[in-house]
């Protein structure tokens, strides 16, 4: 039997090998002032937001849902934290907790409308995609908010044991969610609901609560990702923070082997997928491709990966194999 994450690992390995061979300076690593520097470390530091998003998105997608609002939640949480620290003079813990609480609140709103209101997740979260950034713009009056708060900046670019702090945040959250999925019944419930919500309800699962919690967790991840992104550049930039990242997150989850139709949660796969995407992004940047142009390549990759999961692709592959045999 093939290992569970065979193809995601292969894809990531292929991309890494390509870069090690053909992108100059990719493999260089050096230790300076007790901290590792190099492209490989950058991939993990810059990729931390997408990795966090993909952890949360895995839960929502496993339920057969989707969350398009994660990018906007990032902008919102960064803006709120920055505003609280600069204008209100609040301490770092207060700012962080308030921002995360707001993010969880947005998730609860999403989850409640989907679960209890019966509205499609895509509509609810599309509304939140626009409303979240709109709210952030209104709060900050469309201005970028700069701050100089070392304790807060640590979240984005601090160093622990020679490695960037965001890596530890991702690891901690992924471990927490991972344990929840594998060591408690939550994973089973999630997959059961994703594959057949009606059967799950008839079995006595509290489907609404599960959906609510999944959306709240997803938003919490997005809120944390927003704090990292803001802390990294010492600035809350509502126009650009988390922009277009919802596609990256969905792409990471799908690359990792979680099916968009729900019923399967593969957290490790999602993290590999997120690493793949960040490596791709970094590679394109190192080759001088403008950020806006990389959208084209990412969209193409996203569609191809989705296509490979469909029955249509399997039919095509089968026809190809039988033609080869003949």
């Amino acid at each position: 039997m093939r290992a569970r994450n065979f193809w995601p690992w292969v894809a990531l390995a292929a991309l890494l090998v390509f870069n090690l061979l053909f992108t100059p300076g990719f493999a260089r690593l050096e230790l300076r002032d007790g901290r590792l520097f190099g492209t490989l470390v950058d991939i993990f530091q810059n990729g931390a937001p997408v990795m966090l998003l993909s952890v949360g998105m895995t839960l929502v997608i496993a339920l057969g849902g989707i969350d398009l609002s994660v990018g906007s939640v990032m902008a919102l949480s960064g803006a709120v934290a920055a505003l609280l620290m600069t204008e209100q003079g609040q301490s770092v813990p207060v700012a962080v907790l308030a921002a995360l609480a707001l993010a969880v609140g947005v998730g609860a709103f999403n989850g409640a409308l989907v679960a209890y209101g019966g509205i499609q997740p895509i509509i609810v979260t599309l509304v939140m995609l626009v409303m979240g950034r709109g709210l952030a713009q209104a709060l900050t009056h469309d201005q970028k908010i700069r701050f100089e708060v070392p304790a807060f900046e640590f979240i984005g670019n601090g160093t622990v044991l020679g490695l960037p702090f965001p890596i530890f945040l991702v690891a901690a959250l992924a471990l927490l969610v991972g344990l929840m999925l594998t060591r408690t019944a939550a994973g089973l419930y999630l997959e059961a609901m994703g594959s057949n919500p009606r059967a799950a309800r008839l079995c006595g699962l509290r489907v609404h609560v599960i959906r609510l919690v999944a959306h709240m967790t997803c938003s919490l991840c997005a809120g944390l990702a927003g704090l990292i992104a803001a802390a990294d550049i010492k600035e809350a930039d509502v126009a650009n923070a988390g922009l277009y990242l919802e596609l990256d997150a969905i792409l990471a989850v799908v690359l990792g082997g979680t099916s968009l139709t729900g019923g399967r949660a593969n957290l490790v796969g999602s993290l590999i997928g997120a690493t793949f995407i960040q490596t791709l992004t970094t590679m394109l940047q190192m080759r001088g491709v403008i950020t806006e142009h990389t959208l084209i390549i990412k969209a193409a990759v996203a569609l191809s990966v989705c296509f490979m999961q469909t029955p249509a692709f399997e039919r095509l592959a089968r026809r190809f194999r039988s033609a080869e045999a003949a």
Binding site: I66, V130, M131, G134, A138, I250, I296, A302, P311, A312
Partner: protein, 319 residues
Amino acid sequence: MNFVRKHITVLAGALVYVLLYAVAALRYEGFFSLPVFINFLSNNAVLGIVAVGMTFVILSGGIDLSVGAVMSFSSVLIGVLVMDMHWNVYVAIAAALVCGTTLGAVMGAIVHATGIKPFIVTLAGMFFVRGLAFLIHLESISISDPRHTAIALASVGPLPVTAVLFLGFVLVGWYVAVLTPFGREVYALGGGEEAALLMGLPVRRTKIAVYAVSGFCASFAGAALTFYLSSGSHLEGVGMELDAIATVVIGGTLLAGGVGSVFGTLIGVLMLGLILTSITTYEGMMSSGMTRVAIGGLLLAFVLLQKVLTRRAGVGRAT
């Protein structure tokens, strides 16, 4: 089904619109006048043209998240073709329409051939087309061309050209939806794909065509935008997909597909315009950010209302 029951959502929308207009007219001096009404039409024409295309997609049971990107792309393309390549304005617009329609058709074909959910395909399409727009020109581009300006300043009676285009789209859209075989196929597809297939309707052709229509409308809206702003803009299309879905839903079209009308969308556009104009201009209290929040809240309220109404009347499928 008699007339009133069949058109209950549109009639209710029209009634609410009249009531809202009356309240606003009582509250604000000079609100109840022809110029103000014409302003609604022309200020929201771009959105309206996009929304007419979106109506067809939603009627067929699908969704198109790429419309804002296609609109931006088309406006930027027209800007580049006219200003940098010195093409004739009409040829440039025709080229943009061909591109937009093709992009839509390709998305429709992917939706049908692969069975990937429409929102994933059009979401990827949105990113793809945004990337394309940045590829042809990294910044918004202002258009100053005598022929282009002449069209932008043209008018029919008191109606500016963009308002005329919008009304034209509504009329043609209504005709296509109600009086042509294609329109019936769209409604049938939205009512239930399997049934449509068993009835022998050309499901594949219809599915591809609705996304092509949406792409055509979105790229035409891009042309209308260049008349309205005298520029091709990357920014205007951001969030446009939500506005378009909002107007379609407010106009009484069910997100589940199969129920709704193009005239409802006209009312939806006017309603959104009325509410936003009265709050922003006359009350003078909203930033662009809060406007977005208001549109989102309004859309959610209408979707919930639809849920309640359809559950009671037993219309539409459970989703």
